[in-house]
Amino acid sequence: MEFSALLEKLKEKTPQAILGSADRFGALEVQVDRAQLAGMVKILRDDPEFQFDMLVDIVSVDYSAFSGWTGERFGVIYHLKSLGHGHRIQLSLTAPEDGPVVPSLTTLYANADWLEREAFDQMGIRFSGHPNLKRLLNHHEFVGHPLRKDYPITRRQALSMNESLMDEMEVRLKEKGYV
């Protein structure tokens, strides 16, 4: 679907969730009301006219050092792709400095699990409804969120114990029916 046609359709289907739109070098970006993200993405995924069946990436941004930035501190951008129609969309939202909580998409896309864990680990964004929001790339004893602008790049941490992973394993075994 064409850029403008896609936006028009979207405004028709989910008018209340859209706060604005922008052209990101030829890609459509739609600014979304944080609280209505999950509902909107569900429509985007399931409506045959949109069919955004792939979650391509989740990007978190800390705007605290961005000159001239007046909005909330954190930004989260979702890249969606429709394999059938071939179109793409970027959904962006912002989250406040104290308590950056964003609805989780884990029930809609399988890879949202790890992508959200990474965003939590690196940037400290919390995803409400995520079944297991723990660190992914950094060590489990790591303190802080390294991609925040106030985390100094030279800071080092001594990390000792490796992770047993049994917390995840217990859940997995329970799902399989083991007692």
Binding site: H79, L165, K176
Partner: protein
């Protein structure tokens, strides 16, 4: 005819657990085994904790991050040009494809026209990298299931490609060949002839491997219908590239969102039918053949001209201007000291790398350092699904499967 009494043939009490249809689901019967983080078959530092019932994996969880070195954070304190060597270390098996992916994103952000000759050379070197990436993946995967000879056949020709890349940019693995706006240098005079010669050897090497495995009973038993992933599940996990195509989805960015004249090259997109290990290995053999076609066409069309744009925002002036006039000297000074400064904004750009969609989200605040870079590594999505695929299979299948989804820890952990 008398019905066979399976109970007398295979008494439940005495049968091994693997054959027994009635399983007691008790945790105390399971053995926990760590596959990795340092294990020869992981080809990198990955960890999978497997709960075993006999040799069957009943549940698995994975852990990554052992090679996490803060690529994204590091980029934030370097200039755009200085990020290019870091991208080599993402997928270090096909470094030039990462260079191209990153530079293409910055060029899109700054609306820079790359010269035609540079585009064609980027295509040729990218496809050479795709070939060696696939050769490494298939070769190493076959070693993991006990077929060592294939490894030599595929690595012999890979070595010859590396000789070309070494002549081209001075480095074998970490090439840093592209620049924002073009390439670091033009190809050497004998490049075309040497590539044509090596393509012939690649064809032969791939054929040799295929001869050894295509009708090999052991190979077929180890790979056919093992670790199948359905189309729907692969899409939900965000799989792209050869692993997604092996599951039957015809999605290739070179066709779906063509860039660098890929729409003008004649090539096919091989698609699998089952989504098992066999498909994931063989799709790579077929893609090597298609890449060879693309390189042959690109070599035939390779235009003359510069390999670097003359856009003063990104290109260093020629040396005689730097030393000959004040504008040239200042231009040189500005690019070295003040760097490349895209307008504030955000871009997402993706290329079809050897493993799938390699995407870069770049946020610029107008300064010489990228404000934020997020890399979308294709094998991150592959490995996110890994534990669900290996559940219900044997340990040996888990090893075979790990090779087939081609996890490169460098880009997985960044």
């Amino acid at each position: 005819m008398n019905a066979i009494d399976t109970k007398t043939l295979l008494p439940v009490e005495s049968s091994s657990r693997g054959l027994n249809s009635v399983q007691s689901l008790e945790k105390k019967d399971l053995v926990m085994v760590n596959l990795g983080p340092s294990h020869p078959a992981t080809h990198g530092t990955l960890r999978a904790l497997c709960a075993l019932d006999g040799e069957t994996i009943v549940a698995a969880v994975t852990e990554i991050g052992y090679l996490h070195r803060g690529f994204e954070k590091d980029c934030e304190v370097h200039t755009f040009q200085q990020c290019i060597p870091y991208t080599d270390r993402l997928n270090y098996v096909s470094a030039i494809m990462n260079n191209v992916g990153f530079c293409k994103a910055v060029e899109r952000m700054m609306n820079i026209q790359v010269p035609e000759r540079a585009i064609y050379i980027r295509v040729i070197t990218s496809e050479l990298n795709r070939i060696i990436d696939h050769l490494v993946c298939a070769g190493a995967n076959l070693v993991d299931i006990g077929a060592l000879t294939n490894f030599w056949y595929s690595f012999n020709v890979r070595e010859k490609v590396y000789n070309i890349l070494e002549k081209l940019c001075g480095a074998r693995l970490t090439s840093s060949y592209t620049r924002i706006g073009g390439l670091s240098r033009d190809v050497y005079p004998a490049f075309g002839a040497e590539v044509t010669a090596v393509l012939k050897e690649i064809r032969k090497g791939v054929l040799d491997v295929q001869k050894l495995v295509t009708k090999n009973r052991i190979f077929l038993d180890r790979t056919k219908d093992i670790c199948v992933i359905s189309k729907e599940k692969a899409i939900s996990y965000g799989w792209t590239g050869p692993t997604l195509r092996a599951s039957g989805v015809e999605y290739d960015l070179r066709k779906a969102e063509p860039y660098y004249h890929y729409e003008d090259f004649k090539f096919d997109v091989p698609v699998g039918s089952r989504g098992d290990i066999f498909d994931r290995i063989f799709i790579r053999f077929l893609e090597i053949e298609e890449s060879i076609h693309i390189i042959e066409q690109a070599l035939g069309k390779l235009p003359n001209g510069p390999v670097m744009t003359d856009d003063k925002r990104v290109a260093l002036p020629p040396k005689q201007q730097t030393y000959g006039n004040i504008e040239g000297l200042m231009n040189h000074f500005k690019i070295i000291m003040h760097g490349i400064c895209p307008e504030p904004g955000r871009v997402y750009d993706a290329t079809e790398a050897a493993n799938g969609e390699l995407g870069f989200t770049i946020v610029s605040d107008g300064s010489k350092n990228p404000y934020r870079i997020k890399c979308r590594p294709p094998c991150f999505m592959n490995f996110a699904a890994y534990h669900t695929i290996i559940e219900g299979t044997m340990i040996a299948d888990a090893v075979a499967n790990l090779g087939s989804i081609n996890i490169i820890a460098g880009e997985l952990d960044r």
